[in-house]
């Protein structure tokens, strides 16, 4: 009775995660398990069908050391081109904005301008530099993102940010497309005698043969 019909876990179940054995323990929390991170996933009206969440945001309270690996497909999507430039300019990042519904790939200059506008809007709201905002997109190739819907949803997305497990799970659901399950995991281990946490989320089901660099 307490669960709302709009809870992300009501849309798709969580995947079984096959963590290899090692000197770590699996803990709840996904991408928000590590200190300093918040996340949110909401429905922003980007999907063609249904009301499953389709916008995710991950933020860090401080400048986070940032790294990226990207497709080596020569026809790279606009957000891929943007992120590579951003990480060339900046060694740190504060936010990752992800949309599902439209891949914004093979969309030319107009698609790239869409990415810049989304990054600028979020950077302004979070009071960070544009290059500290990274963008990922997934969905139908050849379609530009539904920019107006996305920009309208950004304030609600930012207000939904939380360091709770729910934030991580809703973000993990929001990035899915044809996935039947959401993928989220976190572990705790020791580095140099100090407890550290590593968390993550991913999506993917088809068009899967990554060669990222």
């Amino acid at each position: 009775v307490a669960s709302s019909v709009n809870e992300p876990s009501n849309y798709i179940p969580a995947a079984p995660i096959f963590i290899p054995e090692g000197p770590w323990k699996e803990i709840p929390g996904g991408i928000t398990a590590a200190k300093g991170f918040k996340a949110a996933g909401i429905y922003g009206g980007l999907r063609a069908k249904g009301e499953k969440p389709d916008l995710a945001l991950v933020t860090c309270d401080i400048d986070a050391t940032a790294a990226g690996a990207f497709t080596t497909n020569m026809v790279a999507a606009a957000p891929v081109l943007y992120c590579k430039k951003a990480l060339d300019i900046s060694k740190v990042a504060r936010a990752v904005l992800i949309n599902a519904g439209q891949a914004n790939a093979a969309t030319g200059d107009a698609g790239y301008q869409d990415v810049l506008e989304c990054a600028d809007t979020l950077a302004m709201m979070l009071k960070v530099k544009r290059e500290e905002v990274l963008i990922e997109s997934t969905g139908v190739i050849g379609q530009r993102i539904k920019k107006e819907a996305l920009l309208n949803a950004v304030p609600r997305l930012v207000n939904s940010l939380t360091s709770s497990i729910d934030g991580a799970l809703s973000a993990a659901v929001a990035i899915t497309t044809t996935d039947l399950v959401s993928k989220s995991v976190a572990i705790e281990s020791q580095v140099g005698g100090t407890n550290i946490r590593v968390g993550g989320m991913a999506k993917g089901s088809g068009m899967i043969h990554p060669n990222m660099a």
């Binding site: 290899p20 986070a64 990042a93 990752v96 990274l134 140099g192 100090t194 993917g204």
Partner: protein, 220 residues
């Protein structure tokens, strides 16, 4: 398309973090395959806040870096395997482990060649313990090895040893595949190609009729 976001509160220098992330990506997401199509959007972003209070990591060779690398590998491999498990139309995860190669890179390449073989994937869906398709897929990976050193196991059933096909229990091997398919479990394919120290893994899924259905209906 596959997307990923990784977060940690370990403290690590930028250039070391970027190397570590690429190593982990190579050992995980770059070792999965569902359909052989590389997306335009594949992205992994990894952020390190440093808020755990751990010792700063400024060299990729120090003990702390080795420990963090292992954690990063584990998280990315866990997520990568889930993607392969959830492959469109899949009824099971295929895990290929190759040992005895000259290097990790060479072993990984052989493993991915087997995991991405349409014939191997279709055989697993057909619950057919087809060692010949596995051997062929290993052989066309572009990594030289002597076929008399080839050793293939399906689960714990030995199918080929020293390049020679064995009289294995076909019914048991077929049942192993059938059970994995019925439970959406894991099919393990273990291959050795020699005496080298290189080992590598790759993950894929079986190829079912549903894969075609899904992608005939999902336009791009």
């Amino acid at each position: 398309t596959m997307l990923g976001v990784i977060t940690t509160d370990a403290l690590v220098k930028s250039d070391v973090w970027r190397k570590m992330v690429q190593i982990a990506v190579n050992r995980s997401f770059n070792q999965i395959t569902v359909d052989g199509d590389t997306s335009t959007n594949d992205t992994v972003i990894a952020l390190a806040s440093g808020l755990s209070g751990s010792t700063p990591i400024s060299s990729i060779n120090c003990n702390e870096a080795v420990q963090l690398q292992a954690c990063l590998d584990a998280v990315m491999q866990g997520l990568a395997k889930s993607i392969a498990w959830d492959g469109e139309g899949a009824t099971c995860l295929i895990e290929v482990i190759v040992t005895g190669a000259e290097s990790e890179v060479k072993a990984a390449k052989i493993a991915r060649s087997v995991a991405s073989s349409s014939l191997v994937k279709a055989a697993v869906y057909g619950r057919d313990p087809n060692w010949g398709r596995i051997a062929a897929a290993a052989g066309h990976a572009g990594i030289p090895f002597h076929q008399n050193n080839l050793h293939i196991m399906l689960g714990d059933i030995l199918l080929m040893d020293k390049g020679q096909p064995l009289a294995f229990d076909r019914a048991a091997a077929g049942n192993y595949l059938k059970k994995a398919g019925e439970t959406h479990g894991t099919v393990g394919i273990y291959i050795s190609v020699g005496d080298g120290t290189g080992s590598g893994q790759a993950w894929g899924c079986d190829l079912s009729y549903d894969y075609v259905k899904i992608n005939a209906q999902y336009t791009t």
